[in-house]
Structures are given as C-alpha cells and as structure tokens.
Symmetry: C2
C-alpha cells in the first residue's frame, strides 16, 4: 500500500506498516511476507533490523506506546483541570477505537490477550506501556481531586485503573458488537462517575 521508498528510515516504515496490518489481523495472523510485501521491503532487510518476529513485535509495541504516551501528554497539556484532562483523553479513545478507523484502534485491546501468553518479552512491553498509561491517568485523577474538579474520595490509583479497565472492556465489546455505542456509553458513564455530586 505505502509506496514511498523511505531509504532513510526503513525500520520505522516496516513498523508503521505492520501496525496497520496487525491492528486488523493480530500477531499470529500475519506473516512477515505480507508485511514486507506491503511495505515494499525485501526480507533480507527485515532480519537486518530485527532479530526475530518476536523481537519485532516487542519493538512494535514499544514504538506504539511511545507515540501513545506522547499524544496522551499533549492531550493533558491542552486540557484544563483534572477532570477535563480525563474526559478529553477518553473522548480521544472513543474516536480512535471507532469501527470506522480500524487503523487507529488500540493495540492493547487488539493484542494483549493473544500475545501475553505467547511471548514474555511482548507481555512485558505491554505491561510497561499500560503501567505508564495508568500512571498518567492516576496523575490526572490526583490533579482533579486537588483542584476540586473530581469529587471521588477513593485513591486516585484505584480510580485510574478502574477507568482504564472499563474502557478496555468497552472496547472489546464494541469490537464484538461491531458497533460504537458501547464506547459512547462508556464515555457517558465516565463523565457521570467524574461529575461532582
């Protein structure tokens, strides 16, 4: 699909092509051949940049979380109080996870279950990434509790983890239903949970 010959950063090009394909077919469901054909990169190059498919998967996840966390930080920076930060973030999630943009779907939702039992290194990449996400959410909850925009008394970390898990579950159900209403419902519920009573 992607045609540009990026002799500059082939590694990055392979990774971004793979992200596209794997967010549809999963990890075991795609072969290196298909990815490399789509990226117009010969097989010989692949094993120059990556030691194995597993190492490649780990790199894919690491790269994904890097981008993701950066975007998350930007979203938080552009929002006001703690509650607004969280709402803006989950609005973004709902949009990205929509069935109409399969390429921006969350890789945690897509790959976690498949890959956690398959490869310990990939599992650890997933763990590090999700921990970082929850840490940032915890920061926003704490900020919201301090600035008065969030009234919940429970520990910030517990609230953050619970929100994150709910959205993972809602995304899974949205995938099964092939329908975005679970995401809209999750957004409404999140707003409700964070509202000052």
């Amino acid at each position: 699909m992607t045609t540009a010959p990026p002799s500059v950063d082939v590694r990055e090009h392979i990774l971004s092509t793979a992200h596209l394909i794997m967010s549809g077919k999963g990890f075991s469901g795609v072969g290196l051949n298909e990815i490399l054909r789509a990226a117009h990169v010969p097989k010989g190059s692949f094993y120059h940049y990556f030691a194995s498919k597993e190492a490649f998967g780990e790199a894919l996840l690491t790269r994904y979380f890097e981008h993701y966390l950066k975007q998350m930080d930007e979203t938080f920076d552009h929002a006001g109080n703690g509650r607004d930060q969280l709402v803006a973030y989950f609005e973004m999630w709902a949009e990205n996870q929509s069935a109409s943009h399969p390429e921006s779907n969350c890789l945690v939702v897509k790959l976690a279950a498949e890959v956690s039992d398959l490869s310990d290194t990939m599992r650890r990449a997933l763990k590090a990434g999700t921990d970082a996400i929850v840490a940032r959410l915890t920061g926003a909850v704490t900020a919201g509790q301090r600035d008065g925009s969030i009234g919940l008394k429970e520990p910030a970390a517990a609230v953050a983890l619970s929100l994150y898990q709910s959205w993972l579950g809602a995304s899974l159900i949205a995938k099964i239903a092939h329908n975005d209403t679970p995401l809209a419902a999750a957004l409404a519920e999140t707003r409700h949970r964070l509202a000052i009573t």
Copy 2:
C-alpha cells in the same frame, strides 16, 4: 447393541481438546495438526466433522457459551438474593481466570479481539454469547433492585453491562501483569459498588 454415537463423542473430544490449547495459544496461533495430534484424531477426520477451521471456531465458541451459561444458571440458582448471585458469579470468574488455571480462562477475554476482525461468523457467536451473559446479569441486577439487596438506581441493563466490561478489562490487565491482584481488586470494587449505601 446400542452403539453409542461415536461421531458425537469424537466431535466433542476435538472441541474440548481445542478449547484447552486455544485458551493458551489463541486461534491463529494453533494449527489443526497440533489439536488433532493432541486429541489422537487423524487429520483426515477433521473435515468430516467440521466444514473449515472457521466453522470449527464457531462451534468451539457455541459449545463454550452453552457450558458457560449453564454453569451461570446453576450459580445463580444456588445463591440467594440478586446481589449474592452477582457476587457468587464474579467470585467464580476470579477463580477461573486465575493465572494458575489457564485452561479455565475465559474464551471471550482470550479470543474476542483476535477473532472479531477475522471472521464474521465467529464474531456473531461471540456476540450472541456475551449478549446472553449480560442478559442474565441484567436479570440478577433487576432481582437485586427488587429484593432490596442492590441500592443502585441506574437501569439494570446499564449496570450489568458496565460490570461485565469492567471484568473483561480486569482480566486483560491480569493477563498482561501475569498476576491475579487485578481480579481481586475487581471483586472488591464489585462488592463495593453493589453494597447498600
């Protein structure tokens, strides 16, 4: 000579063997060869019982939900009020999803993300099954609201779906963390949510 219908037995045997293996390796991650070897069933027999790997996957899910819903009904029958029914069910979930019993892990958690984009028939099996689960949960929430064991005012269906999604998410995180504490936390939070204020 009541010749027991062996075709049913073999079919069932293949399915139960596959359940075991796939709950570890996923759908695309296992080949028919491995499943059939493990089940001591010759490869040639497979296409006598199933039309394709996809149809096989659909049968696997259907069978899984049949067992699952039956067990769910039994759990509900042995519990008292609506809240107790839900608590008993989620206690069972936490136990089955434990990392130490990978064979009883939830197939929805394991396969939903991988399979929903891969096969529409499998996606629909997943949808029918999860809808049935949420319907039963909704029944228990309604019962609890009626018998006074649940104080929540929100619509029963919304509560049920939200609980189910939270548990899917918690199970995913537990898989990533390779650790059961997220499930214990989910159980505590569920209890808290359902407690009379």
